[in-house]
């Protein structure tokens, strides 16, 4: 067993705890894709072509509402704008890999893969094969996402709507920040962002996500001053 394969396997294993919410999320997307009238082919291929859950849900909802191409595409861009920041964080660890790797790993850069692989990269400052970790976490997530989407498409008409499985979406995001927000500075940033999202929820094109994130980042910028110079 060579070292690359070991790192790849570690990536696969590290992401597993974060997959539990991905399964219901994928199923929900499959169900909603069918209910929105996208059809099984488009619903299935959307999970491969876009491969970003919350934006896929936004796509389906906007499509049912009769939104135009430009509205749907810009909404997807807004919901996924957080990837710019993931991309910037991951970039510092991928300066030495080939363009082909950069393209493949970019495609796999999801919330969950980012969280586990960034942690691994931080612990491995000198390991030149560390990018295999992101390939492992990203591919595992991709595979489970496709299977869950198919399950959602198939089960679509059987799962009762009363179960409110869509509630797994905010719960997933809560679980992803719960350790961070134990720190008071992170909690302040989170509450600022949440309140801005509520206040600006009715802005067109779902731009409230950008407004709220910007408010949170601004507060974080202010707090970073105290964090850096306190010592």
């Amino acid at each position: 067993m060579n070292i690359q394969y070991k790192i790849f396997s570690k990536g696969c294993l590290d992401v597993i705890p974060l997959l539990i919410p991905v399964v219901p999320f994928g199923i929900i997307f499959g169900v909603i894709g069918i209910e929105s009238g996208l059809g099984s082919t488009v619903t299935f291929l959307m999970s491969i072509i876009i491969f970003a859950g919350s934006s896929q849900l936004a796509f389906a909802q906007l499509f049912t509402g009769g939104a135009t191409t430009s509205v749907i595409v810009s909404s997807v861009a807004i919901v996924n704008s957080r990837h710019f920041l993931y991309s910037a964080v991951i970039a510092q660890y991928l300066t030495k890999v080939k363009l082909f790797w950069k393209i493949i790993l970019s495609y796999f850069l999801t919330d969950q893969a980012f969280i586990v692989s960034q942690k691994y990269f931080k612990q491995q400052p000198k390991n030149k094969d560390r990018h295999y970790h992101l390939l492992g976490s990203g591919f595992t997530l991709w595979f489970v996402w496709q299977l869950s989407t198919i399950a959602g498409i198939v089960l679509g008409e059987v799962i009762p709507k009363e179960l409110n499985l869509a509630f797994a979406v905010p719960l997933t995001f809560i679980s992803l920040i719960i350790v961070d927000i134990k720190k008071i500075d992170h909690l302040i940033v989170a509450i600022t962002s949440g309140i801005f999202a509520i206040i600006f929820f009715n802005l067109p094109l779902r731009t409230y996500i950008i407004v709220a994130a910007a408010a949170g980042i601004l507060v974080a910028y202010g707090l970073s001053h105290t964090k850096l110079y306190r010592k």
Binding site: V73, V76, H83, K102, S175, D180, V189, A190, I198, S224
Partner: protein, 103 residues
Amino acid sequence: MIWTTLILAGLVTFFTRFSMIALLKKNHFGPRIRVVLSYVPSAVFPAIIFPAVFLNSTGQLVFLDNPKVLAAFIAVLIGYLTESVIATILSGLAALWLLIFFI
């Protein structure tokens, strides 16, 4: 029409992921930017969490008579105590089902 939309949405999503990886040659980030970037999840995810918990299907703010608020509170509490992704999500879903079906 739907295919054009889907492919454009896919390209845009890929671009958000590839952009900085393609552009940044070296690590240009100073300590301050890195500290700010570490706040990104806390700054972005609540923008998805809060509306999904506090707003109803028509975008109205509902605190009382909203089982999602209590269920989310229980999920946060369990998550705080266990630091477990699975426990957080399952407790929130279980709480919601209990509130909807039995209370």
